[in-house]
């Protein structure tokens, strides 16, 4: 049990850390994951693509042996299916027959009747061929594939296809291989046509099967102008006997010599057929896929409470699918070749791996408290479900392992895939999905943030400017004080990244260009590779232009009684070899007569007087022109499947038959002469070919024009806007211009309207915020607490409490120490905003209070009494507040009397106070539960705020946001809060401390004595004393990432390494004091008394550029995002683009521009800034900057 608990804890912790990691570095992790997915899927490239087309492999005939079953080592290019004997050997006898010379007395039927009739004698010859030698006597009967019944569903084919005997098909099968039936057939074409299927038929027809050549090549028709009939006799052999086949070949060649035949007969082709999927097999497959999709649908439907449901569902599916791909890829990498049908087992693999974990993760993460930081939410969600995820995974692995021990190869393979898939799925869930989830959650928070912004932030111009319903004073103004800069410059602020990408695409017209190029390439490929495409078409045209084409030029059909024109002296005839039995020379010609008919349109070619029988390369492997389902369908009629098996196709045996007209007339059927003659050609072939070429050209031109029109339309449809027109005038983009200037898109004019928070009667002295609340203190000593989101005034802590008349000596002593200040400020005009500089103008209320020095007994007051009667005379009213800090709902106020007070920001009650020190507090830092106070005499006091909760629980209020502000503890009114001085460093500095900053567990002080000191917050221990400035320190910046920058009166800026205390860089940038310092991740921004704002590169210390501001403008700086700087000026704040140094916008805070300068400026979490403006506070929302950093 304890072990289990420990294990559980460890797993939970590991998941927590992992979640933090994923949420912190989403982009690198996603890149890493994608890279690993691609790496794992890389071996898949070697796998053959799925497809049902057959694969071929050619071997020589001479040294052919039946391949063995066992794979051998040195096979080289030999495919792995080439093992064992084939299903069958196919021997085709290709017969080309013609009646020659063609006689005018012949009728069209004669073209094929007598040539077809010769098939029976040929069949007889083949059947009866016997080869006998020393090894014995072999006949076809012994070697051929013996088939039994046809499948029961093929009754109607029973009369045509052979049963119970050799599988030997030829056109003779139409007439049951009997010459008598053929001779008595009045219309052979009708008999052939009778068996053709009705309607559209894609696979092999019976005609193709029996003729063995594609139907249009057979020449068995009335309109055969070549008058050559082609057919094959297909013999299917079950075993390969070289001698028998050799003798058959030589016998046939001897009987029917083909003189000009140069067909190669030394190669046999092995054709391997893939598994074919029929509709019936598809039904279960489709069912499983339907179930799979239903599963995915029902699973992803449960994803809820996220920004993009579809995005997450897609991520979940991608996770599962890529894990499967990775699994297959990994298995292939390690030598396991998948033998299972991927498509079939795929749904089951998905179901086994499942989407459950992903859903559980999502649910767990979205159910974490919303106000936590995103990475904490992810981490917590992960660790909550870690145990169940691990348990499920272990169970599944166990089940699969059990499956592995079934010792059934198929199941073992499945299990192997499943195991690897599970592991890679786990990996992807942890890295890919978690990261996607974190991005999604962050987006959702951003959306929430957007919604929370007040409506005024992004109002269009006609709306009146700042209007606080509860803060009635300012009447609605027509906002003349809101000046909008030129719109293009501000676009950088408004455009989200994806829009910029879209605009980039639009500007470069990338999509159109890619489409255009792609289309052109595609058309090119189409034209050059399509077998029916332009190339073959033109080749055919060119070949028909040969002089042979007009051999019958002007000739009339023979049956009209005009003698055919013989071109015996044709120049081409000398090129051809004279066949021995032929009386007439045989010029070369294309045997593909269909090209001519296709090209010539309605005018058919004039038939040659002497039918030419030629043998070309296309006859060598005539079976290629057949449907690739030809052989599988032939075998499937006898219930023999070729799926995953192969057949060997032997070289064809050419047979040439020349029949005399006499023979043709003899074999005629009485009805043959009734058929109509073919149409009469009228135009010469010369003109014809010309016309055809013109037609091709015209067609091409038309197609081109059409294409251009189409593309133009496409372009217009896709890009209705005229992006280019405005861009031309601008020319090339200058550096410093914004990337979205080139197209005429003008975003809606937006304005930033300041929200004025009124209520203070005097100038505002101190300003503090913790992101949610805003505390301000004016010269009159009045502290007001505002809601940083809405600008509502929540609490007013007035300074007109009950004043005591008693005076004590200690107070007088304290009072005496105060006058030291004016002398200090003679040489230090405006060091830090936290120090009261405007000493000459004392609040009138101070002057009006006659009895100086109220008796304060803050330290003695019981806490509970303080909480109930906090506004009573416990506070030190007559001393002014010099420093103020706000954390949670506690305001720490440091007074000139050296007293530290803690106020409740919401209730306005004094919670406790501490007056251990006597010197005035010039600066305060409030971090976690520590308060550090820097005093005028150079001492540094560390206080600890202790909260004694009645219930002992410390609730955290959401301050999800900038790293510099950790979640603030929220103190309830029942808590007893005490503030103890833990350590006082009496002589922290030799001279007064001017700056105090705290972050990342460090307290940094800068002093007049030219040194910077770094203290550790926990134990108040001084870590380093940094020396490097030759003047008093005036500005310090430190943030969560431990970057420390300091600026001094000498105008120098030093960057320090907080961990080692070494100086990283030292630059001089200003003539006069450095008044303010801010850092971003890449640069350091400083402002000085010389009204310059300098931007430095943080790593190299090189000045990037500087901005000269107006004289006398404020010294306050703030960084809203990585690229947006805000500076305070005379009655206005200015927004700058840090990347280019452009002024984006100036927002005037009041109606008159000669108002007071902005001396303090705070950047809040919700992309708002708050600054003091005389006696008012100004809250300015920057609506377009909603980057969330964490």
């Amino acid at each position: 049990m304890t072990l289990r608990e420990r294990l559980r804890e460890k797993i939970s912790a590991a998941f927590y850390h992992h979640g933090l990691l994923c949420a912190s570095y989403p982009v690198p992790i996603i890149l890493f994951t994608s890279a690993s997915i691609l790496t794992c899927c890389y071996p898949l490239l070697r796998l053959p693509l799925p497809g049902t087309g057959p694969v071929e492999f050619t071997t020589g005939v001479r040294d052919y042996t039946v391949p063995s079953h066992e794979p051998q080592g040195d096979l080289g290019e030999r495919p792995d299916w080439y093992r064992g004997p084939p299903v069958a050997y196919i021997q085709q006898v290709l017969v080309k027959a013609a009646v020659s010379p063609w006689d005018s007395s012949l009728v069209p039927v004669d073209v094929f009747r007598s040539p077809l009739g010769r098939v029976f004698s040929l069949l007889e010859e083949i059947r009866n061929h016997v080869h006998s030698d020393s090894t014995g006597v072999r006949s076809l009967e012994a070697l051929c594939l013996q088939v039994t019944d046809l499948l029961p569903g093929l009754r109607r084919m029973q009369s045509v296809l052979p049963e119970h005997g050799c599988l030997l098909v030829s056109p003779g099968n139409y007439w049951q291989n009997q010459r008598e039936l053929f001779d008595s057939d009045p219309d052979p074409l009708k008999t052939i046509q009778k068996h053709e299927p009705k309607g559209l038929h894609t696979s092999a027809t019976l005609r193709d099967l029996l003729f063995g050549v594609p139907g249009k090549h057979t020449g068995v028709s009335h309109y055969n102008r070549k008058r050559v009939v082609t057919y094959t006799i297909t013999v299917v052999l079950v075993s390969y006997d070289t001698r028998f086949l050799g003798s058959l070949r030589s016998r046939l060649k001897q009987l029917h010599p083909s003189a000009n035949c140069s067909l190669r007969d030394d190669h046999m082709v092995h054709v391997h057929f893939k598994e074919e999927i029929g509709i019936a097999e598809l039904i279960p497959l489709v069912t499983t896929y339907i179930i799979l999709f239903a599963y995915i649908y029902f699973s992803t439907r449960k994803i809820d409470m996220v920004k993009s449901k579809w995005g997450l569902a897609l991520a979940a599916v991608v996770t599962v699918l890529s894990s499967l791909l990775m699994s297959v890829g990994l298995c292939t990498l390690f030598g396991l070749t998948p033998t299972l049908n991927g498509g079939e087992i795929f749904p089951y693999l998905v179901v086994v791996i499942g989407l459950e974990n992903v859903l559980v993760l999502t649910k767990s993460v979205v159910s974490t408290p919303v106000d936590l930081e995103v990475k904490l939410r992810i981490a917590q969600g992960l660790s909550n479900e870690s145990w169940s995820i691990m348990k499920n995974m272990a169970t599944e692995l166990c089940i699969i392992l059990i499956g592995y021990f079934t010792l059934v190869p198929a199941i073992q393979e499945f299990c192997l895939f499943a195991v690897v898939g599970l592991v890679s799925d786990f990996f992807l869930q942890m890295f890919f999905f978690t990261t996607v989830l974190s991005i999604d959650i962050r987006r959702m928070e951003l959306a929430d943030l957007n919604r929370r912004l007040p409506a005024e932030a992004g109002l269009p111009p006609p709306k009146p400017g700042p209007l606080r319903p509860r803060e009635a004073p300012p009447p609605p103004r027509p906002s003349p004080h809101t000046i909008t800069l030129q719109t293009p410059a501000f676009r950088n602020l408004r455009l989200p990244k994806r829009l910029r990408v879209v605009y980039f695409l639009a500007r470069t017209r990338l999509a159109q260009r890619i489409i255009m190029v792609g289309t052109v390439i595609w058309i090119g490929i189409l034209v050059y590779t399509d077998p029916a495409g332009l190339r073959t078409y033109l080749a055919a045209q060119v070949s028909e232009q040969s002089p042979l084409g007009d051999s019958g030029g002007g000739g009339l059909p023979p049956h009209l009684g005009v003698a055919p024109v013989f071109h015996a002296g044709d120049p081409t005839s000398t090129l051809s070899v004279l066949p021995a039995p032929e009386p007439t020379p045989l010029p070369e010609n294309q045997s593909q007569g269909h090209h001519g008919s296709a090209g010539a349109g309605p005018r058919p070619q004039v038939p040659p007087a002497v039918p030419q029988i030629t043998w070309g390369a296309e006859d060598e492997e005539g079976w290629r022109r057949l449907s690739f389902r030809h052989w599988p369908s032939l075998f499937s009629y006898y219930n023999i499947t070729l799926a995953k098996r192969y057949i060997s196709i032997l070289p064809v045996i050419p047979v040439t038959l020349h029949l005399s007209p006499q023979e043709a007339i003899e074999t005629r059927h009485p009805q043959d002469t009734r058929h109509p003659p073919p149409p009469i050609p009228k135009v010469s072939a010369d003109l014809q070919t010309d016309l055809t070429l013109y037609k091709v050209a015209a067609l091409g031109l038309a197609a081109g024009v059409l294409l251009v029109l189409l593309l133009f339309c496409l372009y217009r449809v896709l890009c209705p806007r005229n992006y280019g027109q405005n861009g031309v005038a601008h020319g090339r983009r200058r550096r410093g211009d914004l990337p979205c200037d080139d197209y005429g898109y003008s975003p809606p004019v937006s304005e930033i309207s300041p929200l004025l928070l009124r209520g203070h009667s005097m100038d505002i002295e101190c300003l503090a915020s913790d992101g949610m609340l805003l505390a301000s203190c004016c010269l009159a000593g009045q502290i007001r607490v505002w809601d940083a989101q809405t600008g509502d005034c929540l609490t007013v802590i007035p300074n007109h409490g009950v004043f005591m008349t008693q005076t004590d000596e200690g107070d007088l002593l304290r009072r005496r120490s105060v006058p030291a200040r004016p002398t200090l400020f003679t040489d230090q005009p405006d060091l830090t905003p936290l120090i009261d500089t405007n000493f000459t103008c004392q609040p009138p209320s101070h002057l009006a209070t006659p009895p100086r020095g109220g008796f304060d007994f803050g330290g003695l007051v019981e806490p509970d009494r303080a909480s109930t009667a906090g506004t009573q005379a416990t506070a030190d009213w007559d001393s002014s507040v010099w420093a103020m800090e706000l954390r949670g709902n506690l305001i720490a106020a440091g007074r000139s009397s050296g007293k530290l007070e803690l106020w409740d920001a919401v209730e306005g009650s004094l919670r406790c106070s501490n007056e251990d020190g006597v010197s005035g507090i010039t600066a305060l830092a409030f971090l976690n539960n520590r308060i550090v106070a820097a005093r005028l005499n150079g001492s540094l006091d560390f206080f600890t705020v202790e909260i004694n909760k009645p219930l002992g629980l410390l609730q955290y209020r959401g301050a999800p946001g900038r790293g510099s502000m950790p979640p603030s503890p929220c103190y309830s009114s029942e808590d007893v809060i005490s503030c103890q001085l833990t350590r006082s460093v009496q002589c922290a500095h030799q001279k007064p401390i001017t700056v105090l900053r705290a972050a990342a567990g460090r307290v940094v002080t800068g002093s007049q004595d030219h040194t910077v000191r770094v203290y550790r917050l926990e134990d108040s221990c001084c870590l380093f004393t940094l020396q490097g400035h030759s003047g008093g320190i005036t500005a310090i910046y430190i943030d969560q990432t431990m970057v420390l920058a300091s600026g001094g009166q000498d105008g120098a800026i030093c960057l320090w390494d907080v961990l080692t205390g070494s100086r990283v860089s030292h630059v001089y940038g200003h003539r006069g004091d450095v008044t303010s310092l801010v850092c971003t991740t890449s640069c350091v921004i400083s402002s000085g008394l010389d009204d310059l704002i300098c931007i430095w590169d943080r790593s190299t210390g090189i000045k990037l550029y500087s901005i000269q501001q107006e004289v006398g403008c404020g010294a306050s700086l703030g960084v809203i995002s990585e690229s947006l700087l805000v500076t305070g000026g005379q009655g206005c704040v200015s927004f700058w683009d840090l990347n280019f140094g452009d002024l984006l916008q100036t927002v005037y805070l009041g109606q008159s521009s000669d108002g007071q300068g902005v001396r303090q400026l705070l950047v809040l979490d919700n992309a708002a800034i708050v600054c003091d403006f005389g006696s008012e506070l100004s809250l300015v929302y920057v609506p377009s900057v909603l980057e969330k950093l964490d």
Binding site: L151, E281, S299, L407, V408
Partner: protein, 208 residues
Amino acid sequence: TTSNINGTTNLVIRGTMLFSVGVFLALVLNLLQVQRNVTLFPPDVISSIFSSAWWVPPCCGTASAMIGLLYPCIDSRLGEPHKFKREWSSVMRCVAVFVGINHASAKVDFANNVQLSLTLAALSIGLWWTFDRSRSGFGLGIGIALLATLATQLLVYNGVFQYTSPDFLYIRSWLPCIFFAGVITMGNIGRQLALYEYKVVQEKTHQD
């Protein structure tokens, strides 16, 4: 009375849905079993499947409707409502695994029948463990599977129905496992449907 009418309509609707699911699965799985013997379908096989044993799919449909109605009924009688993984995605997963078991029995070549039956039994038990885990479900599954096997054997014995494979042991070994898995699957679907109805009724009462 209205609730009674509602109840009967719901029952009829559920029964119809279960019946159609059963018919569909029977047709598909029959096709799978036929595939075992014929690798490549000749054109007429499909029509012969749909015509020869026309009564098999309706029988399967009726049986699945009964089972699917019986399971939630027994759950409520026993007073232990089924709470394990009551989600449609889980039901879909269960159906997919059931089809997968059928697929494996049809497509995978086993060395001998003992191996086949052991594997199928393990798969079926795994199915129950993964998606059901209730004692009533297990008992009902076993009982119905035995009954169905007996009925089939009687039919075969009387010559009403015939298997392509003559191996008697072979038939006996894989049938009960398939029946068991089927019963679990249909029970799962029936329970989910009943849950849906229950939810609807609950919502209605809430609205009232």
